[in-house]
Symmetry: C2
Subunit: 161 residues, 2 copies
DNA sequence: AAAAAATAGTTGAAATTTCATGTATACAGT
DNA sequence: ACTGTATACATGAAATTTCAACTATTTTTT
C-alpha cells in the first residue's frame, strides 16, 4: 500500500515471475522450494526407512505428538496430504502400533487418531537420530534468517489458500 | 564464528529443531517447505493438466528452455528427480512433441534432451496462464523478502548436499 | 591392450499418492 | 418425521515416483 497500488504484482517482483523476459528460474522461489523439499525428503527417508516410516508418516507422527487426538481430516490438513493418503498411512501406522484409531463419540462419521506410547517412543528416537541432519541443514543461518524463512513461507502458503 | 564456535547447532537455533523440548513444528522450516511445496504443486497441476503436463514435466520444460540441450542426468540434477523418473517423463514429453531426444556424439552413453519449438510454445503459454497464481502467491512480499527466501533456501539446500 | 571399475541410461516391479466413486452419518428445510 | 444436501471417511483403480537390476559405453588400472 505505498505507491501505485495495483500493478501486475507487488513492486519489483516481476523479476521473480516466469512471465518476465529476464526471468531465471534460479530466482524462482518455487524452484528452490521444490528442490529443497525433494532433497530434504530424500535425506530424511534414508534415516526413517529402517523404522518402517517415510516422510509422510513421520510428519503425521510429529503432528499427532503435538496436537494429541485429532480427526483424519485434521491430520490431512496439517500434513497437506489428501484424505485417502492419510487414511492409508494412518491404518498402516496403526498396524505398526504407532497410532490408535477410533470413532468419534460425538460424530460417528469422524475417525479420531492419536499417537500411542510406542509411537511416541519411535518419534522421539527418530527425532534424535535425525537432529544431526536438521542441524547441518540450518548450519550457518542466523535465528533471524530462519524466522524470516518461516514467516515468508507461511505467507506464501496463505496466499495460495 | 562469533562466540563459542561449535555447539549442537548455530547459536539460538535449537528452538527450530525437533529435539528441543520447546519445539513446535510450526517453527520448523521443513514443515513449511513441505506444506508450501504440496500446495503449490496442487494449485499448479490444476492448470497444467489440461496441457498434458504435471509439475515435474513443467519443471523440466522450464529447465530446458533456459539451459538448451542438456543430458538426462543434468535434467535430473536440476529438477531434483531420479534418473528413471526423468527418463519416463522425457520420453513422454517426446511423444507429446515437447522435447527432442538424441544420443550425444561425443559420448554414446549420454542422452541429450532439448526443447522443441512446440515445447517452447506450450511452456510460454503455460507461463502466461500460471502467472496470476504465482503473482498471487508472492503478493504482499517485498523484493528483499523474496531475495532472502531464495538465498536461504539455496543455503539450506547446499547444506544438505 | 585386456581386465576391472565407473558412468549414463533403460526397464520392469514396487511403493506412494491421488482420483473417482461409494457408504454412512449428520444437518437443513419443509 | 421426511427429503435433500453436505460432510467424513473408506476403497479400488490410476498415475507418479522410486528402487533394483541390467545393458552399453567409457575410463582407469595393470
Amino acid at each position: 500500500m505505498s505507491k501505485s497500488a495495483k500493478k501486475t504484482a507487488a513492486e519489483g517482483l516481476d523479476h521473480f515471475i516466469p512471465s518476465d523476459p529476464a526471468f531465471k528460474f534460479r530466482n524462482y522461489p518455487f524452484y528452490w522450494v521444490a528442490r529443497l523439499s525433494n532433497r530434504y525428503t530424500l535425506e530424511m527417508e534414508k534415516q526413517l526407512k529402517p523404522f518402517g516410516m517415510n516422510i509422510s508418516s513421520w510428519r503425521i507422527g510429529l503432528i499427532l505428538r503435538e496436537y494429541g487426538v485429532i480427526s483424519m481430516s485434521e491430520v490431512a490438513t496439517h500434513a497437506v496430504l489428501r484424505l485417502p493418503t492419510v487414511n492409508k498411512l494412518v491404518y498402516r501406522m496403526q498396524e505398526q502400533g504407532l497410532v490408535s484409531v477410533h470413532r468419534s463419540e460425538t460424530d460417528a462419521r469422524v475417525t479420531m487418531v492419536g499417537i500411542t506410547d510406542q509411537g511416541h517412543e519411535v518419534v522421539s528416537e527418530l527425532i534424535k537420530k535425525t537432529s544431526k541432519t536438521v542441524e547441518r541443514a540450518l548450519d550457518g543461518l542466523s535465528s533471524d534468517e530462519v524466522n524470516v524463512l518461516n514467516t515468508v513461507l507461511g505467507k506464501v502458503f496463505a496466499n495460495l489458500a
